[in-house]
């Protein structure tokens, strides 16, 4: 990797990390705002009770249950954010591909909601151990999801899944709409190719190819492992 490629990788990685953390901090703020209002509502309901009109305990219980749901939501955000933050700990680690992809889907959900796109998981139930750079893998998958979200027009659905082969995993990000492959996308795909090369993987199919709606990433089970294709990255 050249000096300018290394600088770009560092800058893009930092931007990706920041985008994910900022997004989840907004989500957590939403949760805290809701808890604040529900706690306020409980207080209001207690204050509204008097001798003629006793406090409705079932309403208080109902609001308490809604607070608990938000606490659970907050815990899920923190757990995913924490695991994501720790994915930079080691440049190469053995990790579960299913967990990594599920985490990217969770982190990308906010972008999908704001883009009004349905993000659908087709991730298999089985775990799959992969030895590689978990952070770069998540970044590569997110780049594809993000490009698909930005191009969504009519159908507004993006499906993410993977399948396992003897020599690695094939990750598919498929949009129900055509994914743009104009200049900014081509530039991003160039960077994606760089990232995948670092992971020992390859972009088997990109939006530049018919039917212009899919990204297929191939990753080896181990760094330096055999790849499905030795062809150069295609847009």
């Amino acid at each position: 990797m050249s000096g300018s490629q290394s600088r770009r990788k560092r800058n893009e990685s930092l931007a990706f990390f920041g985008t994910m953390i900022a997004g989840q901090s907004h989500e957590l703020t939403n949760v805290l705002n809701i808890i604040s209002e529900l706690a306020g509502l409980q207080h209001d309901l207690l204050k509204a009770g008097d001798d003629d009109r006793p406090v409705d305990l079932s309403r208080l219980q109902e609001v308490a249950s809604r607070i608990k749901n938000q606490v659970d939501r907050g815990e899920t955000i923190i757990r995913n954010t924490n695991q994501f933050a720790h994915s930079v700990d080691l440049p190469v680690a053995v990790f579960d591909l299913k967990e990594a992809i599920d985490r990217v889907l969770f982190l990308a959900e906010r972008s999908a909601r704001l883009a009004q796109v349905e993000l659908i998981s087709r991730v298999p139930e089985e775990s799959m151990a992969l030895e590689n750079n978990p952070f770069s893998l998540q970044q590569a998958v997110f780049i594809c999801i993000d490009l698909a979200l930005r191009s969504a027009t009519d159908e507004r659905r993006v499906t993410v899944g993977y399948s396992l082969g003897e020599d690695g995993a094939e990750i598919r990000i498929v949009s129900a709409d055509t994914v743009s492959h104009d200049d900014p996308v081509t530039d991003k795909l160039g960077f994606l190719g760089l990232l995948l090369a670092d992971l020992g993987g390859v972009l088997v199919k990109g939006p530049g190819e018919e039917p212009h709606n899919a990204f297929v990433l191939h990753l080896p089970l181990h760094p330096g492992g055999s790849s499905a294709s030795d062809e150069p990255v295609r847009g």
Binding site: H26, L32, E37, G40, L45
Partner: protein, 127 residues
């Protein structure tokens, strides 16, 4: 004195539901909407004194809602709800004609004061 009529718009349904009930418990005729387009439809059907709308929502965001409402109903008072990092947008909303902005989390008493001030600044027009 007529009750204040408020529409509260935010994409977090639980937040809308809690704030609307808290306003109602204080004698305010409050309704909620979770999208900008639902809010625009309600505004055409119902008379409100003040609309409080979140800046950042999927689809029609708060700024677009302010712009569209002000084009059709310039007399209607609007308040933007902002979170961290959206204060610039809230300032832009004031430039578009919003009465004020309120940062979340809301202090309900301060929020109601701002709603009353907004409603008092221009008499609502029955449509």
């Amino acid at each position: 004195m007529c009750a204040l009529r408020v529409l509260f718009v935010d994409d977090e349904e639980e937040l809308v539901s809690a704030v609307v009930e808290r306003l109602q418990l204080r004698g305010i005729e409050a309704q909620g909407a979770t999208t900008g387009s639902d809010a625009l439809n309600l505004i055409e059907e119902t008379t409100y004194d003040v609309i409080a709308v979140d800046v950042k929502m999927p689809g029609l965001g708060g700024l677009e809602v302010v712009q569209r409402v002000k084009e059709r109903h310039p007399e209607l008072q609007m308040i933007l709800l902002s979170g961290h990092g959206s204060r610039d947008d809230a300032e832009e909303g004031r430039r578009l004609g919003a009465f004020d902005y309120v940062e979340k989390p809301i202090n309900i008493d301060i929020f109601i004061n701002i709603l009353r001030k907004a409603a008092g600044s221009v008499k609502s027009v029955t449509r």
